[in-house]
């Protein structure tokens, strides 16, 4: 399942994002209906921790693409049902910049 996360500057002036890493990095996380984390793109990975000062012009967007193979962090196919997926842009703030959750249904 392809996932796309877009961060847009919807204001009318440039802003500078403070982003963790040499390159902008986003995590994708899937939780079940009880809020338990099923899958995380960055789980178990170690990244570098500089802070990149990235200018984002008005109307400019940053997009991240990720594929979820509908398996849990343990590698097993997830059961049919409804799941929530959200993406998190890693910044200098705890918790980063998170998208609202989107609901997906696995048949």
């Amino acid at each position: 399942m392809p996932l796309v996360f877009t961060v847009a500057n919807t204001g009318n002036s440039p802003v500078t994002l403070y982003l963790m890493g040499r390159d902008p990095t986003a995590d994708f996380q899937v939780t079940d209906h009880q809020g338990r984390q099923i899958w995380s793109h960055l789980r178990g990975r170690v990244g570098m921790a500089p802070l990149r000062l990235l200018p984002l012009e008005a109307e400019q967007r940053l997009s991240f693409h990720q594929e979820w193979n509908q398996r849990s962090d343990t590698g097993k196919p997830v059961a049919p049902g409804t799941y929530l997926v959200r993406a998190i842009l890693l910044t200098d703030q705890p918790g980063g910049l998170a998208s609202p959750p989107a609901s997906i249904r696995i048949e």
Binding site: T10, P50, D92, L97
Partner: protein
């Protein structure tokens, strides 16, 4: 006033429900869409509450805020309405006039269009200033009823790990190189007497290899005089030591060294200290003194379970236990493997790269290494032990 959210993150899962947004328009935009709008805030119970002047239609507010309420899991019925005496644009004009008037007095602290009160709120430092400010504001034409003047604590700029112009420069404070910020690892002098600091290798223009990266502290825009230049940063290579996987580039440390332009700016042996470990504070309250270094052995001599600390510009002073030692660590999104690194269960964030890692021994500090990475959740950091750093950068005098 309420800040408009300029950055809007949106997630789309193809094949699933369409993406949604929690974007909240600015108060100025809301005032354009909602006739009679006087302000929007969350009340003490967290309920969205809008001020509307008498006779204004609630339905306009519901329409304008429906997307925001839905994204918070609320229906439009959850929106509370309070009667406004003044419209938002009128209060904004009065705020501008009051700002000019109030700051004629040295006692003015702030002027705000207070969306929770539907009034212009002015803070003054002391009661003696209150009369002056009140008279000045009245002369500017604001009705008495539209203004609240109250005592407020003066707002002072505190020295933090991020904003301090630290001279001499201590470990833990922010440094800036083109396009990035990191933290000072530790100060070090070479046997030949070159006064320097150590930070992460990736806190240079190119990770591995010397490009004479310039450094400013805390930011070039704040203190434009360059403080140091990168002078040592071994290249990453294949087949380094034992454990470097084929087709990967390896080193034993993610560390580099920069020489001070003015040696007097080096605070040898000092680490900026905040008020406590794991409390989130970035305010500098003192210094730690380094009085010893971990052993010079690759992998270091600190055992699993040992508590270590770090001070970095983003998450400040954090402390936790070593969970793994001598770990060959693949770096996410790169071909790099860092050999024989140490994992610690403690907080980390973007910008902490290069931070000093140390063990507290009584009232002093024992230098343990240089932080360079962590997990995405910010709950585990990884550092290159001191012995790995000196293996690649050579002998360093740290205190």
């Amino acid at each position: 006033m309420a800040r408009s959210r300029l950055i809007r993150p949106v997630l789309a899962a193809r094949g699933g429900q369409a993406g949604s947004t929690a974007d909240l328009a600015s108060a100025d935009e809301l005032a354009g869409r909602i006739p009679g709008f006087g302000g929007l805030f969350l009340d003490a119970s967290g309920a969205p509450t809008v001020y509307l002047t008498r006779g204004s239609a609630r339905a306009n507010a519901e329409r304008a805020l429906e997307g925001y309420l839905t994204a918070k899991g609320l229906g439009v019925a959850a929106l509370k309405v309070q009667e406004a005496r003044y419209g938002w644009h009128q209060l904004e004009r009065w705020k501008a006039a009051a700002t000019d008037a109030a700051f004629e007095s040295s006692g003015a602290v702030f002027v705000d269009n207070d969306e929770t009160a539907n009034r212009v709120r002015i803070g003054v430092a002391d009661l003696s200033s209150m009369g002056q400010v009140k008279a000045a504001v009245a002369r500017s034409g604001l009705p008495d009823d539209a203004v609240i003047i109250e005592r407020a604590d003066p707002i002072v700029l505190v020295a933090t790990l991020q904003n301090v112009v630290d001279r001499p420069v201590r470990a833990g404070v922010q440094i800036n190189f083109p396009g990035f910020v990191c933290s000072v690892g530790f100060n070090a002098t070479t046997p030949s007497g070159q006064k320097s600091f150590v930070t992460a290798s990736h806190c240079t223009n190119t990770q591995g290899g010397v490009e004479s990266t310039p450094y400013w502290q805390p930011l070039q825009s704040v203190a434009p005089t360059q403080i140091a230049t990168e002078v040592a940063d071994p290249v990453y290579q294949r087949g380094v030591g034992t454990g470097c996987p084929k087709s990967r580039l390896c080193r034993y440390s993610d560390a580099s060294r920069a020489a001070y332009a003015n040696g007097a700016n080096q605070a040898l042996g000092l680490i900026a200290r905040t008020s406590g470990a794991n409390n989130g504070s970035l305010t500098i309250t003192g210094s730690f003194s380094i009085t010893s270094d971990d052993c010079g052995t690759t992998g270091g001599c600190l055992a699993v379970g040992t508590t270590v600390n770090k001070v970095g510009r983003t998450t400040g002073w954090t402390a936790g236990n070593i969970t793994n030692t001598c770990v060959n660590t693949g770096v996410s999104g790169s071909r790099i493997v860092q050999l024989c690194q140490t994992f610690v269960s403690a907080g980390v964030g973007g910008g902490d790269s290069g931070s000093d890692v140390y063990q507290i021994t009584g009232t002093t500090a024992k230098l343990a290494g240089v932080l360079w990475g962590g997990n995405g959740a910010g709950t585990q950091f990884v550092f290159s032990p001191f012995g790995n750093v000196t293996r690649e950068l050579g002998t360093l005098i740290t205190h």
